[in-house]
Symmetry: C2
Subunit: 630 residues, 2 copies
C-alpha cells in the first residue's frame, strides 16, 4: 500500500523529494529481511548490506530478474530510471511483492555541471536525493583513490627504474629485514610466477632473473592507465605530468577521465566476491613493457592495496523509494567504454533477499542496443544469472522524433508535433521500439513495453504503439503514469510483468566468447544494430591480432558507440539498416574482463558550462538543508 498523496500538477523533483519523510533505513532493511549484523549504517538514511548476507542465503531460491532498458535515447528523455523506481514502488507497495530496484550510483561531477541528479523523477524517486547524488557511501571516492594510487605507483616506478641500476633496484625492492634476510612480499610471488620463476628466496635468483623481476621496463607510449576525478574538469583532459624539478625531466603526456570511467568501476560492477575482485584488480593492465608484454597492477605490487581501498565499496548501499520500498545502489560504470549496468553483487543480494515470489528490477544504461546487449553478454556471462523479462521503456514523444520529428534545441520552444496528436510520426517512429523488442527476443527473454504517458499523448497514438509492440513480439505493452502517481501509476505494468515472468525463459547469449574478436563484433553489429558490414580500421585490425597473440581474446565485447542511433551516426534516428559500422580501435580491460571496441570518439571527461548548476546550490545554514540541487 502506497502512502503517497500526489499533487497535480506534479511539483518539481526536488520539492517532492524534500517534502518526503523517509523512514529510517534500518526499517527498510528489516522488512527486506536483512539481519542487523549484515547492515552497516551510514547515517540514518543509507546503509551498506555487507556480503555476509550472501553467505547466509547461499541456498535461498532466487527471485525474478528483470532488466529495464530503453529505446534509443533522444533529448526528450524516455524515463528509464523513473520507470525502474516506479515499477519497484508498484510491485513493493501496491502488489504485495518483495521488490528491490538495483540502480547505478550517479557520478557527482555532472551534478554541479548541467545535468541534475539521477534519482528518478516525479513521484518515483530514490530518497533522500541529496544523499543519493552527493558522496553517497563513498564508493566513487574509493575508486578514485585506488585508480590514482595505481597511477602514482606507475609513474614513480618508471622514475625509480630510470635512476637505479638493476642490482640496486632489486635490492631496494627486496630490502633486508632486521635479521638481514631479503624476502619477497606475497604479491611479488605473482610476478615471479608470471615470469616462470619458481624460487621464493630473493637470494637464489640469478642476475638475469633479478633483472627480469625488478625491471618492468614500461614503454611510456603504451600506457593506457589514466588518472581520474569525479568532477567535470575539462582542463585535466590533456595534461603533462612530472614537471617538478625533482622529477628530473621525466615528463609524460597523459590526462584525467571522470572517475566512473575507471576500469575499477567496471571491476566493482562485475566482481562476484572478494576473491574475484582481488584477482580482477591485480590483472588490470596499465600498458606494455618495451618487449611487448602486458604490465599489470600486480606487477607493480599494488593489487592488494587496491583491494583494501575497495573493500567497503564491494557492499551495495541500501536506500529507499518515495514509497519506502528498497533500492540497492551500487557501481555506475559508463555505458560506452564499460558495460553500463549496476553490480552483480547488488543483483545477487536482491535476488536472494526477495525470494521466489519477489523481484529484482535492474536498469541498463543508454538504449537497449547498448545497455541490454551488455547486460546479456557481459554481465550475465560473469554472474551466471539470467533474466526473466526485459522491460523496454518508450514515450510517444521520443518515438515521434524517431519517426522524423524536428530536432530539439535547448532554449527554443518544443515543436508543435510533440505537443499534439501526430499519428504519422508515431507510426513511422515505432520502428525503433520494434527493433529493440526483436533484439530482446534473440536472447529468448519476454519483453514488456512501458509507455510513459505525457498529458499531451492521445489514446490513438498510444494504441498505435501498443499494437506495434505486440506485433513485434512483446508480451505486453502498458501505459504507465508513475511519474505523476507513484507506484499506483505502474500497477498495470507490474501485473503484466508478473505474468510475463511466470515461466523461466530459455536464455541464450548472442555469441560464444571463444570465436575470434572480429566475429563477436560482427554478431553485435549485425544482430543488434542492423549493420550490413563491419569495417575494421587498421588500428583495430592490429589490436585484434595483438590480443590474439597475447591470448586475451576470449572475452566478451564492450562496444563504445554513440547511444543516439543504432548506427555509428548519431543523427540516424529510427531503425537504420544496411550501413557499415566502422571499428576504429580495440582495448582490452583485463580486470573488467572485456574488450572495448571503439566505434566513435568517446569523451571521458565532461566540462562545465559558463553558468554551471553549482551557482544555485547552497546550504541553508540555519536548517542545515541543501538548496538548489536538481
Amino acid at each position: 500500500m502506497g502512502r503517497l498523496t500526489p499533487k497535480s500538477p506534479v511539483p518539481s523533483d526536488i520539492e517532492i523529494a524534500q517534502e518526503a519523510v523517509p523512514v529510517p533505513i534500518v526499517q527498510v532493511a528489516e522488512q527486506l529481511g536483512v539481519q542487523s549484523n549484515e547492515l552497516e549504517q551510514y547515517g540514518h538514511m543509507k546503509a551498506k548490506v555487507n556480503l555476509d548476507v550472501l553467505k547466509r542465503l547461499k541456498d535461498a531460491p532466487l527471485g525474478k530478474y528483470v532488466v529495464v532498458a530503453g529505446i534509443t535515447p533522444t533529448p526528450l528523455g524516455e524515463g528509464k530510471s523513473t520507470t525502474t523506481v516506479g515499477l519497484c514502488q508498484a510491485l513493493g507497495a501496491h502488489l504485495g511483492r518483495k521488490a528491490v530496484g538495483t540502480v547505478r550510483q550517479p557520478s557527482q561531477g555532472p551534478t554541479f555541471g548541467i545535468k541534475g541528479g539521477a534519482a528518478g523523477g516525479g513521484y518515483s524517486q530514490v530518497v533522500p536525493m541529496e544523499e543519493f547524488n552527493l558522496h553517497m557511501t563513498g564508493d566513487i571516492h574509493a575508486i578514485t583513490a585506488a585508480n590514482n594510487l595505481l597511477a602514482a605507483a606507475l609513474d614513480v616506478r618508471m622514475f625509480h627504474e630510470s635512476t637505479q641500476k638493476d642490482e640496486a633496484l632489486f635490492n631496494r625492492l627486496c630490502p633486508k629485514d632486521k635479521d638481514g634476510n631479503m624476502t619477497f612480499a606475497p604479491v611479488m610471488l605473482r610476478r615471479l610466477k608470471k615470469l616462470g620463476i619458481s624460487k621464493t628466496n630473493p637470494a637464489d635468483l640469478t642476475t638475469e632473473e633479478k633483472t627480469k623481476f625488478a625491471r618492468l621496463d614500461i614503454d611510456p607510449k603504451t600506457i593506457t592507465w589514466k588518472r581520474v576525478m569525479d568532477i567535470n574538469d575539462r582542463f585535466l583532459r590533456g595534461i603533462t605530468v612530472g614537471q617538478g624539478p625533482q622529477e628530473k625531466g621525466q615528463t609524460r603526456e597523459t590526462g584525467f577521465d571522470i572517475a566512473v570511467a575507471s576500469e575499477i568501476m567496471a571491476v566493482l560492477a562485475l566482481a562476484t566476491d572478494f576473491k574475484d575482485m582481488r584477482e580482477r584488480l591485480g590483472r588490470m593492465v596499465i600498458g606494455n613493457s618495451r618487449a611487448g608484454e602486458q604490465v599489470t597492477a600486480d606487477d607493480l605490487g599494488i593489487g592488494g592495496a587496491l583491494m583494501v581501498l575497495m573493500k567497503d565499496a564491494l557492499a551495495p548501499t541500501l536506500m529507499q523509494t518515495l514509497e519506502e520500498t528498497p533500492i540497492l545502489v551500487h557501481a555506475g560504470p559508463f555505458a560506452n567504454i564499460a558495460h553500463g549496468n549496476s553490480s552483480i553483487i547488488a543483483d545477487r543480494v536482491a535476488l536472494r533477499l526477495v525470494g521466489p515470489e519477489g523481484f529484482c528490477v535492474t536498469e541498463a544504461g543508454f538504449g537497449a542496443d547498448i545497455g541490454m546487449e551488455k547486460f546479456m553478454n557481459i554481465k550475465c556471462r560473469s554472474s551466471g544469472l539470467t533474466p526473466d523479462a526485459v522491460v523496454i521503456v518508450a514515450t510517444v514523444r521520443a518515438l515521434k522524433m524517431h519517426g522524423g520529428g524536428a530536432p530539439v534545441t535547448a532554449g527554443k520552444p518544443l515543436d508543435h508535433a510533440y505537443k499534439s496528436e501526430n499519428l504519422d510520426l508515431v507510426t513511422k517512429g515505432t520502428c525503433n521500439l520494434e527493433r529493440h523488442i526483436k533484439n530482446a527476443g534473440k536472447y529468448g527473454v519476454p519483453v514488456v513495453v512501458a509507455l510513459n504517458r505525457f498529458a499531451s499523448d492521445t489514446q490513438a497514438e498510444l494504441d498505435i504503439i501498443i499494437k506495434a509492440s505486440k506485433d513485434a513480439g512483446a508480451t505486453d505493452a502498458i501505459v504507465t503514469e508513475h511519474h505523476g502517481k507513484g507506484g499506483e501509476g505502474a500497477v498495470d505494468l507490474g501485473n503484466a510483468l508478473i505474468k510475463a515472468c511466470e515461466t523461466k525463459p530459455k536464455f541464450d547469449f548472442l555469441y560464444p566468447v571463444d570465436i575470434p574478436i572480429k566475429a563477436k563484433i560482427e554478431a553485435i553489429a549485425k544482430e543488434m544494430y542492423g549493420a550490413a558490414e563491419v569495417e575494421f580500421l587498421p588500428q583495430a585490425q592490429k589490436m585484434a591480432e595483438e590480443y590474439e597473440r597475447l591470448g586475451c581474446d576470449k572475452l566478451p565485447i564492450c562496444m563504445a558507440k554513440t547511444q543516439y542511433s543504432f548506427s555509428a551516426d548519431a543523427s540516424q534516428k529510427g531503425a537504420p539498416s544496411g550501413f557499415t559500422l566502422p571499428v576504429r580501435d580495440l582495448k582490452v580491460s583485463l580486470g573488467a574482463g572485456f574488450i572495448v571496441a571503439y566505434v566513435g570518439d568517446i569523451m571521458l571527461m565532461p566540462g562545465l558550462p559558463t553558468r554551471p548548476a553549482f551557482y544555485e546550490i547552497d546550504l541553508d545554514v540555519d536548517s542545515g538543508r541543501i538548496i538548489g540541487l536538481s
Copy 2:
C-alpha cells in the same frame, strides 16, 4: 577500569590493534551522553556526532581543556599521539573521569608510502586502526571533491571569459527563466555587494556594471589555488593543464598538493558552525584579477556548492581507544602551511559532553614551538576557548639527540649512546624541553611534562629531566609507560594533570592581531623560537605591503618553518638562539583566516619510495581482514 592484559614484550601495533575487540560505537556514544538523534553511524565502529549536540548542550559547563605538544621532533620519535591516547585511557578507564581525545584524521597518502598509520602505538591506540587510516568517514574525500571543483570552476571560467564578449558572457551567467526574465543566483548578490552594486535585477545593470560583474579577469600568474589528491603522487607536483584539443591552447602550469594541504582542510578545522564555514569557504582567495583585486570562491559562484560538499564533514567522527574510551577524529591540517591542530568543533563537542569534571585532550602537530604556538594564537583565537594545561611530551633518547647525540640513519644500528646511560647528553639536551616549557608559560598556562619511558632509560637520566622541567617552571614531570601498559601506564600523568587543572589559568595571546604583520612574525620568532632578528626577504616585504593595502593584514600568523629546529636550520638541535630567521614569502589564507609566513621551502606533495608500503598490504579474501597495514 581498564580491560587490557598487556603482553611483554609489547607486540607490534597491528597485532595489538587486530586482537582488540572494540565495543559497538553506539555504546561508546551512549556512555559519553550522545543522544541517538545526534549520532550518525558509519558501520559499527565509527559514528559522526552531528552538530545538534551543541544546540542541546549550548549552556552546559565546559570540561578541562588540555593540549598535548612535543619537544622539537627527532627521527627517534617522542610519542605524542600515543601519549594523547594513553592519557585519555588513563583518565577515562582508570581515574573515573569522562575524557575525550580529539585527534587529527591522518592523510591516506603516506599510509601506502613509507609511514605507517597514525593511530597511536602499543597499548595506546585508536581502533579499528584500518578504519582510522583508510577513508574513515570520507571527510578528506569531501575536501578533495570541494577543492578540485573550485579548481575546475576557475580554469573553465577563464576559458569562457576568453572566448566570449562581455554581453554574451553576462547573458549566459544570468540566463532567462521560462518567463523570459533574467535573475541573479543568490550567490551572485555577494559579488555585486563586493563591487558596490546594489541592484538586484540583471536588466538594470549598466553596460559597465555588467562587465565588472561578469568579467573576473583573473591574472593566471597570480593563481595560488592548486588541485589536491590524498595520494603521494610526486609526478603531479608540477603539471601543465589544458592541453586537450578542445581547450584551444589555454594551457597553464600548476600542480597538485596532497589533500590535507588544501585550505579547505584548515577551514574545516577552524570553522565554528555551518554559517561560519559557509562564509570562510566563500571568501577563500584563488588569485588576483589583473587589476590586483582578490578573486574569491564566491566571485566564482561556488561557495555554496563547496559548503554542500562539506556539510557532512563538519561533524566529527567518534571512535574509541583500546580501553573503549571515546576519541573524536576531525580534520588534519598541515602544521606548516596550516595550523596543525584538529577541529574547533570536535573540541567544543568534547568539552560540552565531558562536563566540568571531564577532560578534552587534544594534540598539536610538530613541536610545541609550532603546534602549540598555533593552537594558542590561531585556534584559540578563533574558538574563544582557552586551555587549562599543556602537556609536553619528551623522551630520554630524543633529548640525547638534542644534547648532541649522533644522527640516526635509516638502516644503520642505533648509536650506543641512545641505548645506555649517558648523563652528559641528557643534561645538555634538556635545553630543548626547557625552552618549550618556558614558551608555554608565556600564555599563562601550566605545563606537565610527560616522559615516555624506554627500557634502556636509567633512573638517573630521568631524574635529570624531571628536575630540569620543574626548574624551568613545569608544574610536574611524570614518567609514563602507556605504550607498554595502556592507560594504567599514564595514571600518574593523569593525576598530575587533574591537579594542574584545578585553577583556571589567566590566558593571554602572544600578540594582538591588529599590529603590523612584521611585528606579529617578530613576536613569534623572538619569543617562541629564540631568534635575535627576522629578515624579511623582498617578496615577503612586498606581500606585507600588499596585504596591508588590501586590508587583510589583521589576521594571526601561520609560520611555515622546519619542525626539526627552533631555527630555520633543521640541523640546529637543542635550543639555538641569537640567529636571524629569514621570511621568504607571505600568503594570506582568507578562508582559514591566517597569513602564512614561509621561512623555508615546504614540500606539499610527498612521493613514493622504490619499495612502497603498499607491497605488504592486501585483503585476506576468506576472512575479509586487512593484512600488512602498519
